[in-house]
Symmetry: none
Amino acid sequence: MHDILGGTAPSGRVVSGIKASTSPQINGLPFSKKKGGVFPISGGVPLAIAGLNGATTNNGNSLPFVSAGQLPQGATLQKLIFGAITVIDDELTLEHELGSSIIGKAQGFYLASTLDGSSQTMAFTALFGEHVEDTISFFGVHRTAAHESQVAVVGGNGKYENAQGHATIETLHLTDQHTTDGVETLLQISVYLTDH
Amino acid sequence: MHDILGGTAPSGRVVSGIKASTSPQINGLPFSKKKGGVFPISGGVPLAIAGLNGATTNNGNSLPFVSAGQLPQGATLQKLIFGAITVIDDELTLEHELGSSIIGKAQGFYLASTLDGSSQTMAFTALFGEHVEDTISFFGVHRTAAHESQVAVVGGNGKYENAQGHATIETLHLTDQHTTDGVETLLQISVYLTDH
């Protein structure tokens, strides 16, 4: 699952929970876009954001203004801001590379659900099939600080009707950040369905 | 299921994800109310919203300011804005007409979960019975562009305890838009529960 925030082709959008802040130009607007290009994070070097301060255009597709500078290596904003809600329309690919065979989409949302930013409550549906008629829905807490954590399968449609089971979610370290100009988080999702 | 946005008796409220915009008076507040009445959309003619520009009161019950003018025939705002979250308290009626016998309520939320606005992730509970003791909860992706799509039944209470199955959701074309001064979307929901 490729979750891309910011850049020219984001698959996730932070829609709530970003506290407006320091810059009077922002006026409570949750989004801002830098003019020019700082992203992607390349080579794992934390972003320099001095240049961001003048940016107040608002296209809703880029990273929230306030916290970009607090991004640790490989982190997403959602780790940091308790309560932030991110809506996702992420690609599911067979291999790890963004751009490899797309097998489906993951649509839903996650929200930062611990004060220390170490957990995300996730609720999303994976859609498969030519007519996206086969779906599996997930709900649970993804502990982003853990190597691996589990969410529950709460239902499904099509050939996954009444699906039960769980999925493990693992945040992978990205070796290639050049395929998007946003900030990509790559999640490996392994689904275990129960016979019943 | 009658989902009514805007007007004097809305059953849904957009709470997040509206892009702030053109009017400096708005200052990022997602809601605005027109003084007077433009709604309902009648005869499928796109709204003229020139008159909306002076309206900056914010009661949270009316349609978001920015995009009302972009509404195509029969569309809701949620088709248009990736990430918009709408909380609902919609009436469930036996027949299609708003005002026909109410059999329950649908409470929960949906969010625009594709970049092109063609899908909504829905999470809601249908409440039935004199004391709303019988409930069925649904979660999944409603593909608004499709004739019909499915969401999963993820649980229930009362006589629907441990409910499993799915529901099909079909967006019906409204022939009578005069029963509300909001923008109504009528969804026909057919529930298929599994014996187990």
